[in-house]
């Protein structure tokens, strides 16, 4: 395959970025999108140019490091995959592909295609945990039976990989899907009940402080989410939040 890549290049957070065109050939369908970029980078290095920097690590779709806005969509045209699991067989010979970093005020660009997603960490630090000591002196795991349906639903919410596609897909750059996934996981489990009121308020407050926008029920986040995190979680977080604030 021959492709025409238009890639966002930006030296650092303060530099002005621009789209640069790179023609590339010899791309095979079995390559992942990131392997295609590896091929480009090898060419650039051999020519004495600086390679394109992008975030990636596990390349198995689970660590959440990879990002990339590909032809305007987070993680590209395929559904339920991260960029590292997107394969070039989804593209056609001669295609032009525009590759940009995830865009959101709360995700400032660090370099080329790399953005700073530490705002997500700060939302978790505001309450995305259960305050139990890690000393091992707790009750037997089977002492509290958990309804299988609730456990499965909690698991579905817990599979969020924190990649930020939901934010990048949202016209308001809202982090509601991400935040609600964690709120839901704990709201569905008995262990999470004790702190539920504080948790949802603290996490929502931090989300707003970071500069994420509001949810207007567009649903793009759910469509672009590589893990299929459901909009139901946002509804659940709204209920949790409402109940927390009315309780005072």
């Amino acid at each position: 395959m021959k492709l025409n890549l238009k890639i966002w290049r930006q030296k650092d957070a303060n530099a002005k970025g621009e789209l640069v065109t790179y023609p590339i050939k010899g791309i095979e369908g079995d390559m992942s999108f990131l392997e295609m970029l590896d091929v480009l980078n090898e060419e650039l290095i051999n020519k004495g140019d600086e390679p394109v920097q992008f975030d990636h690590d596990c390349r198995e779709g689970i660590c959440g490091a990879c990002s990339l806005q590909i032809n305007g969509e987070p993680h590209g045209p395929d559904r339920l995959v991260t960029t590292c699991q997107l394969h070039m067989r989804k593209f056609n010979d001669g295609d032009t592909i525009v590759i940009e970093p995830f865009r959101a005020t709360a995700f400032p660009v660090i370099n080329d295609l790399i953005v700073d997603r530490s705002s997500f960490d700060r939302i978790q630090q505001a309450g995305g945990y259960i305050s139990v000591n890690t000393s091992g002196n707790t009750v037997d795991a089977n002492a509290t039976p958990i309804n299988k349906h609730a456990a499965d639903e909690a698991m579905d919410a817990a599979t969020c990989i924190g990649c930020g596609a939901c934010v990048a897909a949202c016209k308001n750059a809202s982090a509601m899907l991400f935040t609600s996934a964690k709120v839901s996981q704990f709201a569905l489990l008995p262990q999470g009940q004790v702190e539920a009121v504080d948790r949802v308020q603290n996490m929502v407050r931090q989300m707003d402080l970071e500069g994420f926008g509001n949810c207007t029920n567009t649903g793009a986040c759910e469509i672009e989410c590589p893990k299929g995190i459901s909009l139901e979680n946002i509804a659940r977080m709204n209920r949790e939040y409402l109940s927390a604030t009315t309780k005072g």
Binding site: R59, T134, N142, A158
Partner: protein
Amino acid sequence: MGILDSKVPKGPLAAKWTQHKNDINLVNPANKRNIDIIVVGTGLAGGSAAATLAELGYNVKTFCYQDSPRRAHSIAAQGGINAAKNYQGDGDSPYRLFYDTIKGGDYRSREANVYRLAEESANIIDQCVAQGVPFAREYGGMLDNRSFGGVLVSRTFYAKGQTGQQLLLGAYSAMNRQINRGKIQSFNRHEMMDMVLVDGKARGIIARDLVTGKIERHSAHAVVLATGGYGNVFFLSTNAMGSNVMAAWRAHRRGAFFANPCFTQIHPTCIPVSGDHQSKLTLMSESLRNDGRIWVPKRKDDAIAIREGKLKPIQLKEEDRDYYLERRYPAFGNLVPRDVASRAAKERCDAGFGVNKTGEAVYLDFASAIQRYGEEEALTHGIKNADDKEITRLGKKVVEAKYGNLFQMYEKIVDENPYETPMMIYPAVHYTMGGLWVDYNLQTTIEGCYCAGEANFSDHGANRLGASALMQGLADGYFVLPYTIGDYLSKDIRTGAIPTDSPEFDAAEKTVQDRLDKLMAGSGQHSVDFYHKKLGKIMWDKCGMARNAEHLQEAIDEISALRADFWANVKIPGKADGMNQELEKAGRVADFLELGELFAKDALTRNESCGGHFREEYQTAEGEALRDDENFKFVSAWEYKGEPKDAVLHKEELKYENIELKTRSYK
């Protein structure tokens, strides 16, 4: 040999850990506030250790090269975590878990450490459930279990095929709680470049901020390394691309002995290599072997027809298939341990029965599981006279519930539907059992430098059973290290903060700067990946699933020459004073080029076959590994003396007081 004191407590096996905890010194809570600890690596071992140490009251600084601790490679572990809970009532006990782990490791792990691991395993599950880890449940609300390779009981707890992810997110949330309390300072996108020793004790690290390129000094009273394994020495492995050996290797250069580098686990169920462009390999969870049957064609001409695309696997009749694991190992069948399953796949492919284009793949087939589950579902739902189509539909639903995300992942990568046609799998480098030598307290041969999880050597021997890596990471981090480190730190309560303007910090920073300058000054012939791929090929061809003396010697010579070429001719674009991913890679590959040689040297000195180390010269008539307990019942611990060829071997004799060493048999 006197140098290696394992500090294993005296007394009966089952009482050692309890007794040790009663005997060691404690630090009073007021003094803990004056003690700083650095934790490098934030996966299961590092993240859980950091959270617990902070909770105890120490001041903790964590470092990881990823943008968030949540992305550590523990997140990719799929199958599960073992614990001797005996919830299933199938005869499990801490002793059995201990026994299976020692046997699975081919009697090359330390008895007391493994027993402690088995003892703590049940606590881990309780702890994680309390933290909100959504383990799989049965309809009655109780925790569900599955079985894994190398064992005859169901003791593996799991969260779909994403157990590592859920356990890591649990540890990460425990860390977040401590960050929120101000007890952990988390340095992300930072890499440890060197360790600083003051009066022979680990007193800090030199780190590089990967965004700004700035070299930083961080001091502490103790340093914990929990930086994972070194499987990326093979270039292609199931490890995350960034997983590296730098922190452990730099500690090795400062005096920490490196143990058993040649013990590498080759995992039997990975997606086969598809081409030269490949950057990494993807694992399919071992739990698939619970239901998947592994086979190749019985006749070579059928295998050839399949490779050429003239025959489809589903067209091959039952009697024309060779379920070679069930044939060779009737007692364990498809659930033999990883090293046994990997070698058996290699043997069939080498003999010409491989089923993909390159002849390096075998089938993992779910057809009979789909049939079996379908019939069961029809029965339990009172569906009478269900036809084949209905049974298949019902069966697929059950398989989807159990392994759906793995099947989806396979389909995305290979572009084939594993519900309709058998998966293709082949062994790949997965986990490294070697690592920094540690004593019973998890302290390395550098005082004050501790090592936990995959980065140390102690618990898995020559091979690792499935679902035991997560167990070790969390046991070390939550329950072992926070106790044992107190014994050491109790002597440091009057030391006060460690200054970073000492000559030792000056010297270490200069070493780091000089190394970076030298890397940037390469003549510019070849990229870093060029060297990494060459190293990987030498490692796979000559130190891979099977090794022999001749090839190992060749590997040593070739790696040594490649390393010289790397330092003279590597090409790193850009500058060192900002983000530079090529420079990061170069530093890591430079270390792999040293480790790879030590790896081959270690393999060459071990004239026996055991676990993941299969020496072709030492095998039985049936092609099974031939261990030599008389001469090799020891841990090789290598002391750094400059070039890897000069490394000095120290031996820790392994004492088995509670287990009789037997030939491993899974027949």
